[in-house]
């Protein structure tokens, strides 16, 4: 009887250990400890509310990929909440800076974003670069036969439904904003007309507008960071091939769609531009199984026989869903690894592939944050598909979504 209980206990422990998705770190990454003080000085809010705001800040400083909240640290941030206003003093051990002027409303969803703004300001003071605390991501939530586009803050909070089609939407992506601005619109694929077609819609709400009346299936749109060309998959030629469409986010298509790659009877998928828009990564099963390739975006009139592709995903037989990092140095994708899809990364500088995740559940559709450090992806580790966040410097991934429905196709704000 005792042996049976012991055996069952061991099984439970091993099952619990398997539930976590673990990130395989590069050995040189280290987080800087930071202490956080949060004082309520006649804030005008009850203590529980102030505690919630403190928790948001601690989360932001714990998962920015640069710092880890600790009881001891050279870096520190002390926050006072006084009469609905935030006052922060940030220290890197040598210098102190003040951050003021942030006003709280008393509405948690709004004040979460104020705290995120504070976290980004702290990040900038300490490291000279923008953090991702104010970032958001798009995703789809599938409930039964319906799938709609949603948007959430980078920590999974403040999720709101964007499309109201009552139909089937997949693969949303932001249209990159003008420099210094936040994105104002996004692309997505909808089946509301029968065949999947690409739509552009404003983030503030409103119906999507068709991007192109090209016949056939239109799938997996992505926009260049220069905001002048859209890449997508179309079978108008009788095969799912790679196309580009010169596109102005304000006025629409500026020229005809152009086919830029085909490969016999193979299927192409998931294009992703490099930062300067001169190259595109994509998936093709032209060599047997789906793999990730990179090619130069060909000039008009280039013949197919002159287009050269470079194989990126060599370590595994089946790799899909490439995503080029904003700094251009890395490519994330998912690869079938010992029977489970894991997130992998190709480093263009080191010219090597690296497995980022391990653990149960198929992980797919990685998307980079603007800092080229964080990645969102969807995983079935807990049954339904949920959205997870990882960064290259921390071992644990974070589950950002929960509740009914499959959440998939995340796309980080550029």
């Amino acid at each position: 009887m005792f042996r049976l209980i012991l055996l069952m206990s061991l099984c439970l422990v091993s099952l619990r250990a398997e539930e976590e998705i673990v990130v395989m770190l590069s050995t040189e990454n280290q987080l800087i400890p930071i202490t956080v003080g949060f004082a309520d000085e006649k804030s005008g809010f009850d203590a529980g509310y102030v505690k919630k705001l403190e928790d948001v800040l601690r989360f932001d400083l714990n998962y920015n990929g640069m710092t880890t909240v600790s009881n001891q640290g050279v870096y520190s941030v002390k926050v006072r909440v006084n009469e609905h206003k935030l006052y922060a003093r940030v220290s890197n051990g040598k210098q102190e800076k003040s951050i003021e002027g942030l006003v709280l409303s008393g509405y948690l969803n709004e004040d979460r974003r104020v705290i995120h703004r504070l976290a980004n300001a702290i990040h900038f003071e300490l490291f000279g670069t923008q953090g991702i605390a104010e970032s958001r991501f798009l995703f789809t939530k599938k409930m039964g036969k319906n799938s709609e586009v949603w948007e959430a803050d980078y920590d999974g909070q403040n999720a709101r439904q964007l499309t109201q089609e009552g139909g089937y939407c997949v693969t949303p992506c932001y249209i990159p904003p003008k420099s210094g601005k936040m994105p104002g619109s996004y692309l997505y694929v909808s089946y509301k007309n029968g065949q999947p077609k690409i739509f552009a819609a404003p983030l503030k709400g409103g119906n999507g507008q068709r991007v192109s009346y090209l016949g056939g299936n239109q799938l997996m749109p992505t926009m260049s960071r220069q905001r002048d060309v859209l890449a997508f998959i179309s079978d108008v030629m009788g095969n799912p091939d790679l196309f580009i469409l010169p596109f102005n986010p304000e006025s629409g298509a500026t020229d005809k769609p152009r086919q830029i790659y085909s490969a016999g009877l193979a299927a192409q998928g998931t294009p992703s531009f490099n930062p300067d828009g001169s190259k595109v990564a994509f998936v093709s099963n032209k060599d047997g199984s789906p793999r990730v390739y990179v090619m130069d975006v060909p000039a008009l009139g280039t013949r197919l026989k002159d287009i050269k592709t470079q194989l990126i995903s060599k370590s595994n037989q089946e790799s899909t869903a490439p995503a080029w990092s904003p700094d251009g140095t890395k490519m994330a994708y998912c690869s079938m690894t010992k029977g489970t899809r894991q997130i992998w990364m190709y480093d263009f500088v080191k010219k090597e592939e690296r497995q980022l995740t391990q653990g149960p559940g198929n992980k797919e559709n990685p998307s980079w944050a603007s800092n080229s450090l964080h990645i969102v992806f969807n995983s079935t580790a807990v049954g339904d598909s949920e959205i997870y966040l990882l960064n290259l410097k921390q071992p644990n991934t974070l589950k950002l979504t929960s509740g009914p429905g499959d959440k998939r196709f995340p796309n980080f704000m550029p």
Binding site: G215, L219, G238, F243
Partner: protein
């Protein structure tokens, strides 16, 4: 002499009226009509103006070994239900299983794993039956749905589904079906009919299915 001059003028006139700049002659097998693709097109015995394509294909995309693909591309690229289409949207198409006669003809086709090859006598019998029916009934239009099983990646399966539906469409065109009467839609692994995780479930889901509209 006058007759020769008039004849010469007629020849020259025909050349100028039916040939546009960039003319390049090419022999086409078993077809009377010609392909117009991008800026590279041929003289046609049909003097009606060829419609301007709404996209630019790769210049060397001639599939000389797949004449049916030429017809696929030549056909109208307007999707059902879109402005200018003579065919209504997919909501007007019906599942042939609701009609005993149609269900016997428009049977579901199945595919090997990670493949769009149409193999086996059962599949080919279905292709022939559908082709015969559509040639006899030119007012019938079909949507060909391409599906995959659950094992592939979500996004890539949308492409694989498109590959499968196009494989069926191409084969129907090769069997003489008017390319304008068939359309493809890919659902990837989004609409399974079997929800288990066995080989049999996966086989059931790797399929191409039809939806039918009679004008």
């Amino acid at each position: 002499m006058k007759k020769i001059s008039v004849f010469s003028l007629l020849i020259v006139g025909l050349l100028f009226t039916s040939c546009e700049p960039g003319y390049r002659s090419r022999q086409v097998r078993n077809r009377e009509e010609f392909l117009h693709r991008g800026n590279d097109y041929m003289c046609s015995t049909d003097t009606r103006a060829m419609p301007e394509p709404d996209f630019i294909a790769l210049p060397d995309m001639n599939r000389n070994d797949e004449i049916a693909m030429n017809d696929v591309v030549r056909s109208s690229t307007i999707s059902p239900g879109d402005p200018g289409s003579r065919v209504p949207g997919i909501e007007s198409f019906r599942d042939p299983k609701d009609d005993p006669q149609l269900s016997a003809i428009f049977r579901t086709l199945h595919f090997p794993y990670n493949s769009s090859l149409i193999k086996g006598s059962e599949n080919m019998d279905t292709i022939r039956a559908v082709a015969d029916y559509m040639k006899a009934n030119p007012n019938v239009y079909v949507f060909i749905e391409g599906h995959t099983d659950e094992r592939g990646a979500e996004a890539f399966n949308l492409s694989l589904g498109a590959r499968r539906s196009n494989a069926v469409r191409s084969l129907l065109v090769k069997h003489g079906v008017n390319a304008d009467n068939s359309f493809t839609v890919s659902y990837g692994k989004e609409r399974p009919v079997a929800f288990g995780h066995t080989e049999e479930d996966w086989y059931q889901n790797r399929r191409a299915a039809f939806k039918v509209y009679t004008k």
